[in-house]
Amino acid sequence: MTARVGVVTFPGTLDDRDTQRAVRIAGLEPVPLWHRDKDLKQVDAVVLPGGFSYGDYLRAGAISRFSPVMETVVEQAKAGLPVLGICNGFQVLTETHLLPGAMLRNNHLHFVCRDQKLRVENAETAWTADYEAGQEISVPLKNIDGRYVADERTLDELEAEGRVAFRYLDGNPNGSLRDIAGITNAAGNVVGLMPHPEHAVEPLVGTGRTDGLGFFTSLLKKLVA
């Protein structure tokens, strides 16, 4: 069996076609979703891909959050639908408050594009089940608003509940608090991270690694189980 994975396109989304390719390479079926449609077309999971939706104007993710498709995504995410937000998608998820905290301008104020080492801290979410807890992976990072912040209480809570899903290794690229690269909700179905697993699925292009494939294969494992 395979799973149908919806990939949302907002105006200004960039990595939608790349995400569809990654889904396909992982053996799943990509289903394009349009921001104006409330209908999720019966998908088994949704990815909010990277890019600059609405130009990142106002704040990254702030305008997309109000699109019709997000109404349904929020509703179904609360009911357990697996949702992955990558980069801009992560920003949308924080703006909707499906995930806590916010993303701010990188502390060095520049866009940064590089191969980034991460540690998978939580290997039990819908999107990380194919990794081992503590596993180190490298995937591309590319953003200018990637600095994760939340208040101390929220951070402590995230740590205590094992909801820090990924941490930056070998240097914090943007000043994110506690080196946080990605987090999950309490149920483990909603995951957001700044780095781009969809750009690490083929040996030839990108950084030439395939460390990101696990995000998509994890899904299959979870859904079939």
């Binding site: 105006p11 960039l14 076609r17 600059f52 130009g55 940064v112 594009c113 781009h196 292009v205």
Partner: protein, 749 residues
């Protein structure tokens, strides 16, 4: 104020008109009057003045650019040649590729961020207008001295602007150049290149045909930005006494452009577009007159229908506005509804502003009154042409006589080592990753190679692995010493870079950055460089598909170095066979291909160690370049080499440093018998590359070189943690890395 209609112009022939303020010369104004048989209206004057500016009409350069057509090599790959928004090349399997490099120099000096950003935006629209999906950008840049205060202002702004715009569009930035030289102080060069991919049947042209077809303006609203901006600005030298020549710059909206791209591609997919033109310099004046001029009929436009951002704009201003992110399409009446529907889907404003007529005139109306009635060809394609006087400057001989080969050289291995460190850490030779790490190189998921590789490479078909490679190069120092050879060296280097990655060079685009054409010495440099480039392209079999000319890059009497930038496009049948530059496997053999002569004129060494520019640039041998390319391509295809890196500024030691650092592997190098170690390391002889050969392939590889007559010298082996020049000195990778990577961040970080 009364509207200056055609009728009014007829009735008031003697009105004083501001032609001089608009940059026209007396005889040009007289010519407009002669064409029209009356004085132009204000709107007509606005159109002619922007379209006849140097930037839009190429009036000084045209007579020289003609050679690119006249001397064009026979080439079946060329699908669309010079004259359209960009040329189109057949790359096989039904795919076509379009690419072009353009300048945004003057706006980037005034407002670095927006100037550079809108430079990217403009070239992307040119590529889009051909029917192609833009797939990558590149940015050849030149700044003043690295430690000059103005460089600290201009460089970060330009880099942020290119990144801010390109990243937001989702176009991987896969290469470019960063060069520092005091000659660019006050005249930075910001060139931008875009590559687009389409199927043969998707090629679109900029022409309006079919009477009754609608003319649709879509994209951003028209505002008062950059009125007479780019065009006038890029057509004269800066002069503080004329503030009118420094109008408001345009501000780009990359989000709008991203919508414009997706919207336009969907319009193409549904076959809704008959003809299309982007709006860039000269805005609607350019788009309407070019579309009408290239088509079969005339055109009628109701200018008051244009969506405005500022309701107070006059018709003249609307015609001249250079507001960004706009396109103009010609659409059959039966397809208009669907066209507008797709625009609505993408939140893109679209307005029918006119239609194609069966007449021969371009007629523009403002609330029903006619304000323009012109033959479009006279605006767009039959502007003035100047045979500017040119003369070899009298200082050229003295410059060439000041031989760099006679400069004092290092006397001891210790001194040689020191000079190596100085050269590889100098701003021009140092790593540019502080800059390029601000560009997204992964987006779209097809980037096979990106900077600092010799060329950027993009996969265009996932099934077959078909790909294209592009490199851009230019060396103003060489061109200053000899503009003819300098242009050919730029071509040769770019050609070599493409071949080094395993791709077969097919065609070129170019951006010719020079000083004022009114200076006969500059005009001579221009004439020599174009002649050199045209001859070079004929010899290499790579036609010129298009390009751009940027003149008036000078402050007072001082022009920049003549700086022809050449972009070569190559094709590779299977990107799995590409050759990267990194030394990766210990024990592999390093071969130097080509001949090393004593050639230090214009070299990085002469600049860094002696602050010297004189003598002759390296000799050009295009037959040798061709042979070298054939060997590199064959070796890549047949798996005989694992790494290749072309040799250019900085010579062998620069190439070795880069390949070692990229792969994190050292190399043990033996200076060949009879070669002076200093010349071996620093000479910049053209037609060379260093390759890494697996031992199992050595015989096959050397046999091939031998049989084809290409000198191949074994110079060492990939090994250890240091670059060691035996009998001379060693430099650990850590030392090399520190020297190579710290410079740029410390200057601008």
């Amino acid at each position: 104020m009364t509207l200056d209609t055609v009728k009014h112009a007829n009735e008031t022939p003697d009105v004083e008109q501001p032609w001089a303020e608009l940059g026209l010369k007396q005889d040009e104004y007289e010519r407009i009057r002669a064409i029209l048989g009356r004085r132009p209206t204000g709107a007509e004057l606005a159109m002619y003045s922007v379209m006849w500016s140097e930037h839009c009409s190429y009036k000084s350069s045209k007579v020289h650019l003609r050679q690119f057509g006249e001397k064009a090599p026979e080439n079946d790959a060329l699908l669309v040649g010079i004259g359209e928004n960009a040329g189109v090349v057949d790359v096989g399997q039904g795919y076509a590729v379009t690419f072009k490099v353009e300048s945004h120099n003057h706006p980037s000096y005034i407002e670095p961020y927006q100037g550079a950003a809108t430079g990217v935006g403009g070239i992307v629209r040119d590529i889009l207008a051909m029917g192609a999906r833009p797939v990558a950008v590149m940015d050849p840049l030149r700044f003043g001295a690295a430690d000059h205060p103005d460089t600290k202002r201009v460089l970060p702004g330009v880099v942020a602007g290119i990144g801010g715009y390109g990243n937001c569009l989702g176009l991987p930035n896969i290469g470019g150049e960063v060069v520092f030289d005091p000659c660019y102080q006050g005249n930075p060069l910001v060139n931008a290149l875009c590559i687009g991919v389409m199927k043969h049947e998707d090629i679109h042209l900029a022409k309006a045909s079919g009477a009754g077809n609608k003319v649709v303006l879509y994209g951003a609203r028209t505002g008062g930005d950059g009125i007479g901006g780019v065009s006038v600005l890029a057509s004269e030298t800066f002069d503080d006494s004329k503030p009118t020549k420094r109008p408001a710059v345009q501000v780009g909206d990359p989000f709008q452009e991203k919508l414009l791209i997706e919207c336009t591609l969907e319009l193409f997919r549904e076959g809704l577009v008959e003809g299309i033109q982007d709006l860039g310099g000269a805005g609607l004046s350019c788009a309407t007159s070019e579309l009408a001029s290239a088509g079969s009929g005339g055109m009628r436009v109701d200018l008051d229908r244009v969506h405005l951002r500022d309701a107070t704009l006059s018709p003249e201003e609307i015609l001249m506005s250079e507001s960004q992110e706009r396109m103009c399409a010609v659409v059959e009446p039966s397809k208009i509804d669907r066209f507008l529907e797709i625009c609505e889907k993408w939140d893109v404003i679209a307005t029918v502003i006119g239609e194609v007529t069966d007449g021969e005139r371009l007629e523009i109306f403002w609330h029903g009154e006619q304000i323009v009635d012109v033959p479009p060809r006279t605006v767009a394609h039959e502007g003035p042409v100047y045979e500017r006087p040119y003369a070899r400057p009298e200082w050229q001989d003295a410059l060439q006589a000041d031989d760099a080969n006679a400069l004092p050289r290092p006397q001891t291995p210790e001194e040689l080592r020191e000079q190596v460190l100085k050269v590889i850490s100098s701003p021009n030779q140092a790593s540019k990753s502080w800059i390029t790490d601000q560009y997204d190189r992964f987006v779209q998921g097809n980037t096979v190679l990106a900077q600092p590789e010799d060329s950027g490479m993009i996969r265009i078909d996932e099934e077959t692995g078909l790909g294209v490679a592009v490199a851009t190069d230019g060396n103003g120092r060489y061109a200053k010493l000899d503009p003819y050879a300098g242009a050919q060296l730029a071509l040769a280097e770019s050609y070599r870079n493409v071949a080094a990655t395993g791709a077969r060079p097919l065609a070129i685009s170019n951006c010719l950055n020079f000083g004022s054409p009114e200076d006969p010495a500059v005009m001579w440099q221009f004439a020599e460089a174009t002649r050199g480039l045209a001859d070079g392209c004929l010899a290499l079999g790579t036609p010129v598909t298009g390009g751009n000319v940027s003149l008036y890059n000078q402050t007072g009497e001082t022009a920049i170095h003549p700086t022809p930038v050449v972009a070569v496009l190559g094709v590779i049948d299977d990107v799995n066979r590409r050759t990267p530059m990194a030394f990766r496997e210990e024990g592999q053999l390093l071969y130097l291909l080509g001949d090393t002569r004593e050639e230090l004129g214009g070299s990085a060494w002469s600049q860094v160690i002696h602050d010297h520019l004189g003598g002759l640039p390296p000799a050009v041998d295009l037959d040798r370049e061709k042979l070298l390319a054939e060997i590199l391509i064959a070796a890549s295809r047949d798996g005989m080499i694992d790494a290749a890196h072309d040799l250019s500024d900085g010579g062998l030691v620069q190439a070795l440093t880069e390949s070692c650092l990229r792969g994190g592997k050292g190399a043990r190098i033996v200076v060949p018998d009879g070669l002076d170690p200093f010349v071996f390391l620093f000479s910049e002889s053209a037609g060379r590359a260093v390759v890494s050969v697996p031992r199992s392939e050595e015989l096959r590889f050397t046999d091939m070189c031998g049989a084809r007559g290409l000198p191949a010298t074994r110079i060492g082996v990939v090994d250890g943690e240091a670059l060691e020049i035996q009998g001379q000195f060693g430099l650990s990778l850590a030392e090399l890395r520190a020297a190579h990577e710290a410079t740029i961040p410390s200057l601008v970080g």
